[in-house]
């Protein structure tokens, strides 16, 4: 049905959608992260090391997501006190620290990376995980937790006065985002079959951030569209050859100027 080119494009698009979701969930609680590449790395390495020990793939993926979520909560616990630009810088620093840590971890291959990962990710696996996560996020918006997250985003003080547990809500949002990034990392590792720390550096984190800001962070559809644009546009622009990334960069600047709220405008969920 697919040739290998379109299949790999679809798989990487799905992984990018997951990375977009991983930025979207914390951002809907007002927590902007420029370090999701770090959580992706944690998920990728954890699951790859586990499947090398013959752990079933689904279990390894879940373990990768769990470890990423755990570290996400540990990082976020002190970090959610800081806001706005400080949080962006903190997450950026976290992403870099994870990258440097993996460079120095001998059992994970160090700077030369981990190769010979088993090819366990299939297109349908990616599609399934994407739909599952997407549905969860969509459903979340009308649940108590989702509304609490939205309230925290709109006005922290007012939310707290309404009895919403600020720290708990933020930790769930941030930990959830980290878990999704961990899932994306696990799927990525078992498709790329080779991972090294540089694949999860600043550019990966910035890319995930762009998916959400470009697409719009109002609802889960925005990040999907952002990921689609960023993943597929360079393919469509192939006729520009060496200049396609330059064109893409110009497009980014244009979007920041003319569509600062994202391609899909924000619309809050229906009233109670």
């Amino acid at each position: 049905m697919f040739n290998s080119y379109t299949e790999s494009l679809a798989v990487f698009f799905g992984i990018n959608v997951l990375m977009a979701f991983s930025v979207y969930l914390p951002s809907s609680a007002g927590l902007i992260s420029l370090g999701q590449g770090g959580f992706m790395a944690i998920g990728a390495y954890t699951s790859a090391l586990l499947t090398a020990k013959d752990v079933p793939f689904a279990l390894a993926l879940a373990a990768g997501a769990a470890v990423a979520a755990l570290i996400g909560v540990l990082v976020a616990a002190p970090a959610v006190r800081i806001r706005g630009i400080y949080l962006i810088i903190a997450t950026l620093g976290f992403g870099e620290i994870v990258r440097i840590l993996f460079i120095n971890l001998e059992f994970a291959g160090g700077a030369s990376g981990l190769s010979g990962i088993r090819p366990l990710t299939t297109l349908w696996y990616v599609v399934g995980v994407c739909f599952f996560v997407g549905l969860c996020l969509w459903r979340l918006r009308t649940l108590t937790l989702g509304r609490a997250i939205l309230a925290v985003h709109e006005d922290e003080t007012a939310a707290e006065a309404m009895g919403i547990k600020l720290l708990q809500t933020k930790l769930i949002a941030f930990g959830g985002g980290a878990a999704i990034a961990g899932l994306a990392g696990g799927l990525f590792a078992h498709y790329a079959l080779f991972i090294d720390p540089e694949q999860f550096g600043f550019s990966r984190s910035a890319e995930a951030f762009l998916f959400v800001v470009l697409g719009g962070s109002g609802n889960p559809l925005g990040p999907v569209i952002g990921a689609a644009v960023v993943t597929l546009l360079p393919e469509v622009l192939r006729f520009l050859q060496d200049w396609r990334m330059s064109f893409f960069a110009v497009l980014l600047i244009g979007c920041a100027i003319w569509r600062p709220g994202g391609l899909v405008a924000a619309r809050p969920p229906s009233r109670l």
Partner: protein
């Protein structure tokens, strides 16, 4: 003795970091903007310096001047094309970050297409001669870098402290609204800030090119991230914090490579960043709100 030698190397590296971070801080101070393309301006500066040396056969000082002027112009263009339209439309907090990432990518891609992705270097005569000071070795290039950086830092200090435009810059950093009420043309100040910051970044690019002979379109990426780290360590928007933070980071990096392992080189800078965020988020110099003195 080894320690002292490492210290000198660290201060030299740190002084170039400081120049980049001062630019970051000036822009952040006035605009509250994380200018992620500043590392790419630094990269462009290195290429302008290289071009001046290779094609115009000029000396190091003229090369620095070319880079400063070229990057100042580039900075002004960036402000007019990528940031001013967003401010006019009262874009969100995140739109300028997207825009700066776009500018950074654009400069990187254009540089790759024009100069190729490989590393290039300055002609060998720019490595300088070895000078012996007691038991220490320094090259004339190292002394040149140190001298230039410190002269420039002093110039920055004098500029923001005593000139009319420097004071306007500080006032705008304090509050753009109040500055406007007091009759300061904030738009002019912003253009000036971009020109000034970018010129410093360009000079730093040439200096790093002299010191490490490794110029590539991607040399700005790590500088962009390190600039943010330094700025935070020193205190967001504080130019003196940027100077001290840059020097500290340079020394820490060189010591790490010297006494631990080169793969840990960047670990400490970011560990320092996280510790500062948790313990003293306003930075060493508590100019958190503005490019104060």
């Amino acid at each position: 003795m080894v320690f002292l030698q490492q210290l000198i190397n660290g201060v030299m590296l740190g002084s170039t970091y400081a120049l980049v971070a001062i630019g970051y801080s000036l822009i952040f101070g006035v605009l509250r903007l994380l200018h992620f393309a500043h590392g790419e301006v630094f990269m462009v500066g290195a290429f302008i310096g290289l071009g001046a040396v290779v094609y115009l056969h000029v000396g190091p000082l003229v090369a620095l001047l070319c880079a400063a002027v070229g990057c100042a112009l580039l900075g002004v263009v960036i402000e007019f094309v990528a940031f001013r339209p967003i401010r006019r439309r009262n874009g969100s907090l995140l739109a300028p970050i997207v825009s700066s990432l776009g500018v950074g990518l654009l400069l990187q891609e254009v540089a790759t297409n024009l100069f190729g992705a490989e590393q290039t270097r300055f002609p060998p005569q720019f490595e300088g001669e070895m000078i012996r000071l007691g038991g220490l070795f320094v090259t004339s290039t190292q002394l040149f870098i140190l001298g230039t950086s410190f002269v420039l830092m002093l110039a920055v200090h004098l500029f923001v402290s005593y000139t009319k435009y420097g004071m306007a810059m500080r006032a705008s950093a304090e509050s753009t609204d109040v500055a406007r009420l007091l009759g300061i043309n904030v738009d002019t100040v912003i253009v000036l800030t971009f020109a000034f910051a970018s010129a410093l970044g360009g000079v730093a690019g040439v200096l790093v090119g002299f010191a490490f002979s490794a110029i590539s379109p991607f040399m700005g990426v790590s500088m962009s991230i390190k600039g943010v780290a330094i700025m935070l360590i020193g205190g967001l928007g504080s130019i003196y914090g940027a100077m001290v933070g840059g020097l500290i980071l340079g020394v820490v990096e060189v010591m790490t490579v010297g006494y631990l392992a080169s793969s840990y080189r960047d670990a400490f800078s970011f560990a320092l960043l996280i510790i500062m965020l948790l313990v003293r988020p306003q930075g060493l110099f508590s100019g958190a709100s503005a490019a104060k003195r």
